[in-house]
């Protein structure tokens, strides 16, 4: 469809006039547009095609583990979508419907989530997805030059895939490795160099055209070595030993006990001797239900009062400077250890 570019003006006699001219907007590759939203025409596999891959025992175990971690199944939606992307390589339309069933939400909600986040691929990409940072630190250090170099080397533009299906170039926002700017991600690995047959990112090593060449060569070598790219766990490995969120499906965990910690003692006790007696001040904790003030009486302690839990100070009219005081707090049925002893000054 041809879109006539120009500007619309509203004039006094209630007529719209159209001023033809170039739209002064330079197309800027947005990460969302590169692998995300422009998928309307991409052939989508049917549910029958993807189900055999998704409903395997291994995936079922993982999904059950994920669902047990959140109080509501919908919490696992992002993680389930990651599992789908790991298994299928991308997130086709029908798999979103499948994820919404697993996570007990509407397909529309799941589709909204997929399109909101930029890392879910709604079209398949090349075997090596090269994500270049183009944000302020990397731009400052010459990211646009590195991207242009890579585009030239692979003879594709940002957002495109090489004809052999090996590489896709995208530009993304800050990757969180600005100390090594400019940086790139090769699939899920940060890469500024190749050392010992591995992609590395060491302190102070930044991308240069030579290092880009090394990284591309590493990818070519790897594609010859392995028929298919080895699958990497999209969720960074499994957790052992947890029982899940209390109350979640498949979880046997019990909720937190209310009184697991010792009762709170009175903190910050201060005793000041004045003409009217000894004034005690302390920090009030929300869990106090009862307070007792005690005064040293020889080697034993004698109760001198029970201030209310809302009180901020307590006055012992018979107190004198030099006398030692302490307080004991109670929280429900738990009695705390006595506070530190304070001598009135």
């Amino acid at each position: 469809m041809n879109i006539i570019q120009g500007a619309v003006h509203f004039v006094a006699n209630n007529k719209l006039t159209f001023e033809k001219g170039p739209m002064p907007i330079k197309p800027y590759p947005s990460a969302a547009n590169q692998v995300g939203h422009k998928n309307k025409l991409y052939p989508q596999p049917s549910m029958e095609e993807i189900l055999p891959k998704l409903e395997t025992p291994a995936v079922k175990v993982r999904i059950a583990d994920l669902l047990s971690r959140y109080p509501e199944p919908q919490g696992a939606l992002l993680e389930v979508l990651w599992v789908i992307q790991e298994v299928l390589g991308w997130v086709p339309r029908e798999s979103i419907r499948w994820a919404s069933k697993v996570c007990d939400c509407s397909p529309a909600h799941a589709y909204g989530v997929v399109t909101f986040y930029t890392m879910y691929k709604q079209v398949p990409t090349g075997r090596y997805l090269l994500q270049f940072c183009r944000n302020i630190c990397c731009e400052q250090k010459g990211a646009s030059g590195i991207i242009a170099y890579t585009e030239k080397a692979l003879k594709i533009k940002t957002g495109e895939t090489t004809p052999d299906g090996l590489f896709t170039i995208v530009q993304v926002e800050c990757l969180g490795a600005c100390g090594n700017a400019p940086v790139m991600l090769v699939n899920d690995e940060f890469a500024t160099d190749v050392e010992g047959g591995k992609l590395t990112m060491r302190d102070g090593i930044t991308l240069t055209p030579e290092r880009v060449d090394k990284i591309l060569k590493w990818c070519y070598d790897r594609s010859e070595k392995y028929e298919e790219e080895p699958v990497r766990d999209a969720l960074g490995g499994t957790l052992v030993g947890h029982k899940g969120h209390p109350g979640a499906p498949g979880s046997s965990a019990k909720p937190q006990e209310m009184d697991y910690a010792p009762a709170c003692p009175v903190l910050g006790l201060k005793a000041v001797a004045e003409k009217s007696g000894v004034t005690l001040t302390w920090k009030n904790a929300p869990e106090f239900t009862h307070l007792v003030v005690e005064r040293a009486d020889g080697s034993s302690w004698k109760k001198v009062g029970e201030p209310s839990v809302k009180d901020k100070e307590f006055i012992d009219p018979t107190g004198l400077a030099g006398m030692a005081y302490r307080m004991i707090a109670t929280s429900g049925d738990r009695v705390a250890k006595p506070s530190t002893e304070e001598k009135a000054v």
Partner: protein, 436 residues
């Protein structure tokens, strides 16, 4: 003397990813020796006395934040670790989680004990898969060691930690957007109040803390809160991990006490080792912070008060110096592209306004600027303030007005490249309504 103190980065390069090494280096002693004898209120009181302030950017006192979390509401309390480190220039959490995941777990157990939490989630941004792998390995080791799970150390306390992988959205670093994302929704910020401390994840009390904040807790417990408070300034205690990127000799992650002069960090051979070229300006706390001129940097110290007095922010600790060969219009252009791309689209001033600013800056950069464009950008920056749910649009507006005000002549030079710059801009072609 104080310079040698390392709170968070002490175990770097020592292989502390393994629990045995971490324990040999003194790890988990705060839990085995002290924590289980303390009441919840005592732990919060210790954190308050340590003067620890949130390291994510806003700098809210951590102890005070914890004291807002209500108890005995009948709902579980969640702790969510904000490891969605997306602020351009910031990469400390990336290093901290890679090098020392057990310190984060230890800090989380302390926070869990203080807040009565049963479950904690570490929300890691999707790009950090190596970090997630390192965290999952460390958490599994902690489960095997009996530090996590049910009835930890023979007490009634039970605690679980899960890693949640984000999927690439800068806005999820905002705490309410992060909570929405954790619940499996689009990462759109929520209106406050209710604050997350009262009604956060799954409408339960939720405490969102930065990685570095929690990693300071083991040190505070092994030493003392007073010792931690003594390191920093009166307004904020302790050390801060700074991420130095840009035009310096040695970029990287450096831990210095709060209150250190900025030029010490940039010039000292122990840290960044000096500027490459002639200093033109420094972005002090991540891309959302207004830029500082060299003469302002000379008197700047790295603490909250001084940064506010210079009309900028302490932020997340990303220090980005740039030299005289860098073009500020190009830098502002990348910021405009970034924020308009990352706007979640809920509030009109941000969704349309950041795109409007981006299109105007783009056209200035292409040599199609007009007189009055800079006033237009400044007025846009002003209109972002207070009109949106979250501070994403002001995060563009503040650096935008600082860049324009402080380097005005360079912007004017770009505008004068347009032969027709004196004619007014046909703003209909850039304005949001016309664009769609």
């Amino acid at each position: 003397m104080a310079k040698t103190i390392k709170v968070c980065t002490d175990n770097f390069g020592k292989g502390a990813q393994d629990i045995a090494v971490y324990k040999k280096l003194g790890g988990y002693t705060s839990i085995s020796s002290r924590l289980f004898d303390l009441s919840q209120f005592e732990v919060i009181d210790m954190v308050k006395r340590s003067n620890l302030r949130g390291r994510g950017g806003a700098g809210f006192p951590t102890g005070l934040k914890w004291s807002f979390v209500p108890r005995h509401t009948g709902k579980p309390v969640y702790i969510v670790v904000n490891a969605d480190e997306g602020e351009p220039g910031t990469f400390k959490d990336h290093f901290l989680m890679n090098e020392d995941p057990h310190r984060l777990i230890e800090g989380l157990i302390i926070a869990g004990w203080a807040l009565g939490s049963r479950t904690a989630y570490i929300y890691v941004r999707g790009e950090f898969l190596p970090c997630i792998e390192s965290l999952n390995k460390a958490i599994s080791q902690a489960y095997v060691d009996g530090l996590l799970g049910e009835n930890i150390g023979g007490t009634k306390f039970s605690f679980d930690i899960y890693v949640h992988r984000g999927a690439g959205a800068y806005i999820c670093g905002e705490e309410t957007a992060l909570i929405n994302s954790l619940e499996g929704k689009r990462g759109e910020p929520r209106l406050k109040p209710p604050f997350p401390a009262v009604s956060g994840a799954w409408k339960s009390p939720t405490c969102v803390n930065n990685v570095e904040t929690l990693m300071a807790l083991p040190w505070i417990f092994q030493n003392s809160p007073e010792a931690y408070a003594a390191i920093g300034t009166g307004c904020a205690g302790g050390t801060k991990v700074f991420c130095v990127s840009g035009d310096v000799k040695r970029t990287g992650v450096y831990e210095v006490p709060i209150g250190t002069p900025m030029m010490d960090l940039l010039n000292s051979p122990d840290y960044a080792g000096g500027i490459d070229g002639v200093l033109k300006g420094v972005i002090p706390g991540g891309s959302s912070c207004p830029v500082l001129l060299p003469e302002e940097c000379e008197k700047a110290t790295l603490d909250y008060e001084c940064m506010i007095s210079l009309n900028t922010m302490f932020g997340s600790g990303a220090v980005m110096p740039f030299n005289t060969t860098r073009d500020v219009v190009v830098l502002l252009n990348t910021l405009g592209n970034f924020y308009s791309h990352e706007s979640c689209g809920q509030c009109t001033p941000c969704r349309e306004g950041t795109g409007y600013a981006k299109r105007v800056i783009n056209s200035i950069l292409r040599g199609e600027g007009h007189d009055g464009d800079l006033e237009l950008l400044l007025s846009l920056a002003e209109q972002y303030n207070g009109t949106t749910i979250c501070p994403l649009a002001p995060a563009l507006g503040q650096p935008m007005s600082a860049f324009i005000n402080k380097y005005r002549s360079e912007f004017d030079a770009y505008i004068e490249k347009n032969p027709n710059h004196a004619s007014p801009r046909i703003s209909a072609t850039h304005r949001p309504g016309a664009f769609w």
